[in-house]
């Protein structure tokens, strides 16, 4: 039954990666900005959950707080910083977002210190669900899987079935056309950035009880999300979904069965994809 547990772990990890990577890839695709601080937004979510759990004891509050706080934080960042960088060189975007990482880290250290904190699993989900004879699996991990799937479905419906989603798809493909037909792209940009931020913050809040919170938690997730986006194809949300699941499985199963080389497995996977399809498995050929 160990294999089943590892498969479920892989699924849960992959879905969490999808929440982070989808925001990253949307911001790339629609806004044309590389956001290195995306991992810091994840960190904000994780620490938000920690603070809420510690002060109120009601961890579930972190989800609505993450959603609202994430949207506000994202909208603010877009309005006051990122908006001025859409047409700047990559180097400027890299440094702007690197500066944000440093400021987020310093802010975290100032407000909450540099210690490692564990966050208790919410009491409501602090039990195991029997899945098969002699095997049960953490209810909280099931809850995370459910949350991620629900958010992913909402994201899919939003992009594929709404008017704004159509504009987003159009803006990712031909941004100048969106301007030409008179759509106010600025509002779309702000919404996309806010949603991407909220997804990262929520992912952080969901992850806090599983991985604990510590300085630099965002960095590791950021790099893995980059690998997800590279394999999935830049700007492709469905690509990010499948590639996140792939990475989640490979990484989890690798760590369980081949711990010596598991750290390298996802990079080898990325190298192989780059050899065969440099624009990613699901991206359009450049």
């Amino acid at each position: 039954m160990n294999l089943l547990a590892q498969l479920l772990n892989g699924l849960q990890y992959g879905l969490l990666l999808f929440l982070i990577a989808s925001g990253l890839t949307l911001v790339f695709g629609v806004l044309g900005v590389i956001n290195l601080a995306h991992g810091s937004l994840f960190m904000v979510g994780a620490y938000l959950a920690y603070v809420i759990a510690k002060t109120t004891g009601a961890l579930w509050l972190a989800l609505p707080a993450g959603l609202i706080g994430g949207i506000m934080l994202g909208a603010g960042l877009e309005r006051f910083l990122f908006r001025h960088f859409y047409h700047r060189e990559h180097l400027d975007q890299v440094l702007l977002t690197f500066a944000l990482i440093l400021l987020f880290e310093e802010g975290r250290s100032f407000l909450l210190g540099n210690d490692f904190h564990s966050v208790p699993v919410p009491a409501l989900f602090d039990f195991s669900i029997p899945v098969a004879p002699g095997f049960s699996y953490s209810a909280y991990r099931f809850f995370v899987i459910g949350c991620c799937l629900a958010l992913g479905a909402a994201l899919y419906l939003w992009i594929e079935r709404t008017r704004m989603g159509a504009i987003i798809r159009a803006a990712a493909e031909k941004p100048e056309m969106v301007d030409v037909i008179g759509i106010d792209a600025r509002r779309v940009h702000m919404v996309v950035f806010a949603i991407g931020t909220a997804l990262a913050v929520i992912a952080g809040a969901l992850a806090a009880p599983l991985y604990s919170v510590y300085p630099g938690i965002g960095d590791g997730f950021l790099i893995i999300s980059f690998v997800v986006v590279v394999i999935g194809g830049l700007g492709s949300v469905s690509g990010a979904f499948w590639s996140a699941l792939l990475i989640g499985m490979v990484d989890t199963l690798g760590k369980a069965y081949m711990p010596a080389v598991a750290g390298l497995a996802i990079y080898v996977l990325m190298a192989a994809v780059l050899l065969v399809r440099p624009s990613g498995l699901f991206g359009q050929r450049a």
Binding site: L91, L96, F98, A99, I223, V229, V230, L234, L275
Partner: protein
Amino acid sequence: MNEQTRLLPHSRLGWLLLAALLACLVAAPHFVSIYHTELITTAMIAAMLALSLQLLVGGTGLVSLGHGAFYGLAAYVVYLISPEAAARPIWQTLPAAMLVAGLAALLVGSLSLRTKGFFFLMVTLAFGQMIFFVFHDTKLGGGTDGAYLGKPLIQAFGASLDLPRRQRPLGPYYVALIQLTLMYVGLALLMRSLFGRILEGIRANEHRMRAIGFDTYRYKLTTFVIAGMLAGASGHMWAMHRGFVNPELISWHKSAEALLMILLGGLGSLAGPIVGALAYTALGEFSQLVTERKLLVEGLVILAVVLVLPRGLTGLARRRKAAELGPDG
């Protein structure tokens, strides 16, 4: 088309300033304390790293976030091949460090140069982190804590000269200065050569360069490997000077820092990264006087530079000159 290569000084004044900077660096250790001599040595090593990255960023238009990995890898090579009791001579450690860094750059470059723009950024970053994790997660180089080299640089010249304490930092200082100068001259010659012109062509318009028959991939890969080897020389010097290695040297923050030095000094010149590295180190020193929170100062400075000073410190001088000559100057 301008006769001058873009990355070299455009006027006699520029060359004079550069010579003045070199003269200052040659003379400096005789006028400042031991502490500051060592500080400038560290700054010159950072300048070498930023200069090697400038070949990619300013020279070819490739923004890499994995460049620090070759620097750190080379530092680890020095540690791994140095026996515990004695020091290995520099003519063995330097080529070994550069060779390993070059091979790693060949491997990373051949894959990541298949991509462009954001993809290139992310792929170089991911491969750089892969090298980081190799040293961070295994016991190969002391794990997360890093490791100390048995013997520092000064023995490496076989000079068991009993230098008085006051003069001991002079060895690494001048070795670093010579390497930095050689690197600048080498890159200046490279940028003036046909090869350098082709790189500039790739930076300006890669499609056109391909259309007129240049195999741009091969040129970019060669450049990536050269830059990786030079980063290796810088990392080698770091290990020699500071005498210890840790995974932080490989982390992508190192690459971002080098990019910051380039932007701080100015994207459009080879002297920019050197000025940027010196300014950045000085800034770090001053910020320590004011506050413990180094990252806060660093972050705010980066914000200020990208928002207010997009062409860097050397760009200030050029902007004034450009204003005198009119928009086409």
